[in-house]
Symmetry: C2
Subunit: 504 residues, 2 copies
């Protein structure tokens, strides 16, 4: 395919997996020779070798091993709390009392918090979060999600039956992708994914034996999405795959672009023309910073376009891990289906039933997000203040990152319109590229590992997200708190200048 | 294979999936025709059509639809809290404060609870359960699990690196099974599973395209496990599969047997002889009721057998969903590996990294289980009392269920030595079997659906767990609280007598 999948070599070299070892028998049942081949080839760069090394470095520092830096700064993953963001009080008050209902008798708990807790527990078996929920999730929370979507989109009533709760959006995304697996031979089902993309998609496509069909985002036009590129990508893919699905990430990860409404309409028309199932990854819907940018949900645009578009199949995803919440570790997310074949829906529910249910506490967090305090309720003031402060600070850091990287020679950086990342391009000298290839590493992997070893700054090489051949990038989050962010940018700039002068 | 897989027909008839419908195109991308074939054929009877109907009946009752019963009694699933079991105070106090650390300043929180909360949060990024953990789980909790295993088994130190936390044991079980998938053609990897078995295994084997190799438990000998049957099953399987794994469920689900130590030694020797990877599902390790029965972990027995057995590959699983905790909805579990190939282990960790991490709050619950209050700590007394009361009550109900079913004509029931289930055999009249087949249903499905519709009692037909051809069973939990249990047994007995007289 047209995408660059360079990370495999990098991983091989780090883990030192040679053909010799893979063939070794060593008397074991499960060896590299008998292992699921897709597990061998799949990659997930956001937690790949650079990050594994960063964790080691942290441990070494803690044990007093001298390093040219005092701390590791992890800008590799969209993990807000790990970078010092404080949880929203309302969310944690509800969660604490759902976990320990004895707290409901506390006079310190605001009445709207108690009310939410009682409603959630009322939907749980035996009024306990320790009971399994239905595999689809707690009904009253699904209803609140449906009401939230309706409010957000200003549209018609949403059927709670179309909402399935899950342990983060990732689980729902993987579940939907699983529907398209076919082991009976024949051509693989092709998934159109943006390049660069979030590696959950490439990893899962590989693991499930599906086909990756990359369409390039236009770096020269702020990572925008061109119809001609969609057509090229789709048409080329048909040589190899039975392409049935288009994945859109909006706001973009790792690219941070926010799609204008016309762009979404174009994509929907394109999907209709080629009979594609749309997967809309909208987990950053609260993270829009750029002036003039606005989030439009695929569901809303699709429905407003009328027949035949409002009959199209769509799965859209949301999560409690991003936005102003940043509650990654609590694992709450959902998929909303539109126009899924009813018989397929029955099979989907049967499929997820073998996994029992997602964490009920994660589901409770979803409730706090889709059913937050309303004006006039006792928690509203503090909730609003905390939420606004987080989003304002993220906006500031989005600008700071763009400006900082943009001002470094040999680096270009698009505006961070939304989400939590910048994806700057590094213009690497030929000598550096040669040095990397000599080590059987992707050049941006080589660069990122050197950055980590000499400064403690942990970013993810662009090759982990796929990128246009011959271009090199990295993804950095905008999550370090302002002071740490300045520290990181200083370390980065000094490393970059040294690196360029060494390899020019 | 030798197992009876009757449930498919039952599911087809309930969902009314005919070939006609499966071929329908209906203009959609994802149809029954294009759906992942394994999703169509997999089954998970514990949440299958009978249970779906039970949920409908509950809703109908709530809306005032007249029924021949006043309530639905769900004895289909091991969901203790849903059946009225109260959570352990210590667990919920820790969990509440991990979720909402503001509670740490409360004078009502015992010092040992605070201490646990601070330790857990100290292992979390930004001291927040909202940060992602490593994919393997929070390090300090893994360490506590390793210490727990060492205490339990009285053996050598356990390496925390071999412990991987997950969202319930199910997730770990599926992850280990995933290692054995091979889509490159050739023979399927065979998994030896007990018949009857817990349908997570049959469902996952089907979903992953693996091979199910059933070995029959000996109903005439209290669901014991015979070496000759293992040999027969293994040898026959080789005609079709490359059999590499043996799954043991101890204490047994759905059969409730507890394996004596000699039996475990026999299984380990058998596995060694045929070079099998052992998966030991030990989630009911705290649920042992019968006089003279005792839980022995596979890890302990394997290690104590010395060379070459102590070099064998073993994955053993535990969970917070069962035992005295019953915290199913919180999703905490783990796998401990022994002797896994180090390179395969690296690949395993890479594979789970794409799923980010399991719920940190579920991980915190694991901590409360493996690191409960110790004698002398302030929470110890109440914790001990609550734990003992739950286990004593389960033991009473285990006896009650066995005696009650055993006293009904046409039903035989083995002792419930452990776990949370009885798996009685129903001796169905020929006329009932014919009536069922005329409806294209398994006879025990037919029986269970009639039981549900006429009494509101929800059990799972034995065909969902596989059973010896020509025998019919059902699984019932022992979880209804004593009064409800008596109600259930009364409803059951009266239905059964009517059914038998109708069809004799």
């Amino acid at each position: 395919m047209q995408s660059s999948r360079g990370g495999v070599n990098s991983i091989r070299s780090v883990f030192n997996l040679s053909a010799r070892r893979m063939a070794s028998a060593n008397g074991k049942v499960m060896t590299m020779g008998s292992l699921n081949p897709q597990v061998k080839t799949m990659e997930y760069a956001v937690r790949g070798p650079i990050v594994i090394r960063a964790v080691e470095l942290e441990k070494e520092l803690a044990h007093g091993v001298p390093k040219p830096f005092k701390s590791v700064i992890k800008a590799n993953i969209g993990d807000a709390h790990a970078m010092g963001q404080k949880p929203i009080t309302f969310i944690r008050q509800v969660l604490g009392a759902v976990a320990n209902p004895a707290l409901l008798s506390s006079p310190d708990l605001p009445s709207d918090v108690k009310n939410r807790v009682e409603t959630i527990l009322g939907g749980c078996g035996g009024k306990s979060a320790g009971a399994y929920s239905q595999s689809t999730g707690v009904d009253v929370i699904r209803k609140h999600v449906a009401e939230f979507i309706q409010r957000r989109d200003g549209g018609a009533a949403v059927d709670p039956e179309n909402v399935i709760l899950s342990g983060g959006a990732s689980e729902s995304i993987r579940n939907v992708m699983k529907l398209f697996i076919n082991r009976t031979g024949g051509r693989k089902v092709g998934f159109m994914v943006p390049i660069p993309q979030y590696p959950l998609y490439s990893a899962t496509i590989e693991e499930f034996g599906l086909g990756q069909v990359g369409y390039f985002l236009n770096e020269e036009n702020k990572w925008g999405l061109d119809e001609s590129e969609l057509e090229r990508s789709y048409n080329e893919s048909l040589k190899e795959f039975d392409t049935k699905v288009i994945v859109i990430i909006n706001p973009g990860n790792p690219t941070g672009q926010v799609l204008p409404r016309e762009n979404i309409e174009m994509i929907i028309k394109f999907a209709k023309k080629h009979n594609l199932f749309i997967m809309a990854d909208e987990v950053y819907q609260d993270n829009v910073y750029a002036e003039g940018s606005q989030f439009h949900s695929f569901k809303k645009v699709l429905m407003s376009m009328g027949d035949p578009y409002d009959k199209m199949e769509l799965a859209s995803f949301h999560s409690v891990s991003k936005g102003y919440m940043g509650e990654c570790g609590l694992r709450g997310g959902y998929v909303e289906f539109a126009n899924l074949d009813p018989e397929v829906f029955v099979m989907f529910k049967k499929m997820i039933s073998a996994k029992l249910c997602s964490t009920v506490l994660g589901q409770a967090v979803i409730d706090t997000v889709v059913n937050g305090p309303k004006e006039g309720e006792p928690s509203y003031g503090q909730w609003k203040k905390e939420k606004d402060a987080v989003l304002a600070s993220l906006k500031e850091r989005a600008v700071l990152v763009e400006q900082a990287y943009g001002s470094i020679e040999g680096i270009t950086c698009n505006p961070v319109q939304g989400a939590m990342y910048a994806f700057p391009q590094i213009h690497l000298p030929e000598k550096a590229i040669k040095a990397a290839k000599a080590l059987n590493q992707e050049p941006d992997f080589f660069y990122a590992m050197k950055l980590l070893e000499s400064t403690g700054v942990c970013i993810v090489p662009g090759s982990g997200f796929c990128q246009k051949p011959g271009t090199y990038h990295f993804r950095t989050t905008i999550l370090p708190q302002p002071e740490l962010m300045r520290d990181m940018l200083t370390r980065f700039k000094s490393f970059h200048e040294k690196f360029i002068s060494e390899y020019k």
